[in-house]
């Protein structure tokens, strides 16, 4: 399965809906998307991972890279994920402490620090 990406704006947030598998082959597409958004001035991102079937460390690397980029502009990168198999990877790597992880897009777009 390939990676699907779509973006929409909700208030001052940009929601990136990701579907499919994020791995060494598809992660560059996600990286390009995040880089493009930041370059275009979207600094508050919500990455909706509910449609993601597979995520590996390459994908984690891209998300960390995205976080670094938005933080350089005092922005934010929030994740939406309820899938245990995906959450497990964030826990193993300690990244649950790095990313705010929400249970719904609605919760993520209205969240403040």
């Amino acid at each position: 399965m390939d990676l699907s990406l779509s973006t929409r704006t909700v208030g001052d947030r940009t929601v990136v809906e990701v579907g499919g598998e994020i791995d060494v082959y598809t992660a560059p597409k996600l990286r390009e998307q995040l880089v493009e958004l930041v370059n275009d001035g979207s600094y508050h991102l919500v990455v909706d991972m509910e449609g993601v079937d597979f995520l590996d460390s390459t994908g984690l690397g891209v998300l960390v890279g995205g976080l670094k980029r938005v933080r350089a502009h005092e922005g934010s990168l929030r994740l939406v994920c309820n899938q245990e198999r995906i959450l497990k990877i964030f826990r193993i790597t300690g990244l649950t402490k790095v990313f705010p992880i929400h249970t719904s897009v609605q919760e993520a777009v209205s969240a403040t620090d």
Partner: protein, 156 residues
């Protein structure tokens, strides 16, 4: 003897194939359904690492994956053909152990993401798999992993 052996060109698009094959063989071998996600992820990480090493060191040989069904366990070996250099372990260009991924290893020269990916790959494997061994020698490196299997009851 290996149950299934797979060799693939060191290209990112083939890592998914390796994951699918490993999960299918693991299932047949009697690895618990709940653990198959871990097998899939760990094999993917090991293959991603091997592909990265081959590419950053300009090695044309294929990455090899050996899946073996044993009496009470299922084991996987993912081998790369990047030899350990005389200057010691971690000197292989792009190997995360060196902390200095080769430029372009992740397709983006000097990207900080490249480093993050490299270090996280082995972190994920060691977090997922209880029985794991990473060795490198003059012939290349190998990641060995195994999972217990539950014997299946043969129906008449």
């Amino acid at each position: 003897m290996a149950t299934v052996e797979l060799r693939f060109s060191a290209l990112p698009e083939h890592v998914r194939t390796a994951r699918l094959v490993a999960a299918a063989v693991a299932r047949r071998a009697g690895v618990d359904e709940a653990v198959l996600d871990e097998v899939r992820l760990a094999v993917g990480e090991a293959c991603t690492r091997a592909v990265g090493l081959h590419r950053s060191n300009g090695v044309d040989m294929p990455v090899r994956v050996v899946l073996t069904e044993e009496e009470k366990k299922f084991s996987i070996e993912v081998g790369d053909e990047v030899p350990e250099t005389p200057s010691g372990p971690g000197a292989r260009a792009g190997d995360e152990a060196s902390g200095h991924p080769a430029p372009g290893a992740s397709g983006e020269s000097g990207s900080e993401e490249g480093e993050d990916e490299g270090t996280m790959g082995l972190a994920v494997i060691s977090g997922l798999v209880d029985d794991v061994e990473v060795v490198s020698g003059p012939g290349g490196g190998v990641i060995r992993m195994s999972w217990p299997t539950t014997p299946t009851v043969e129906l008449p």
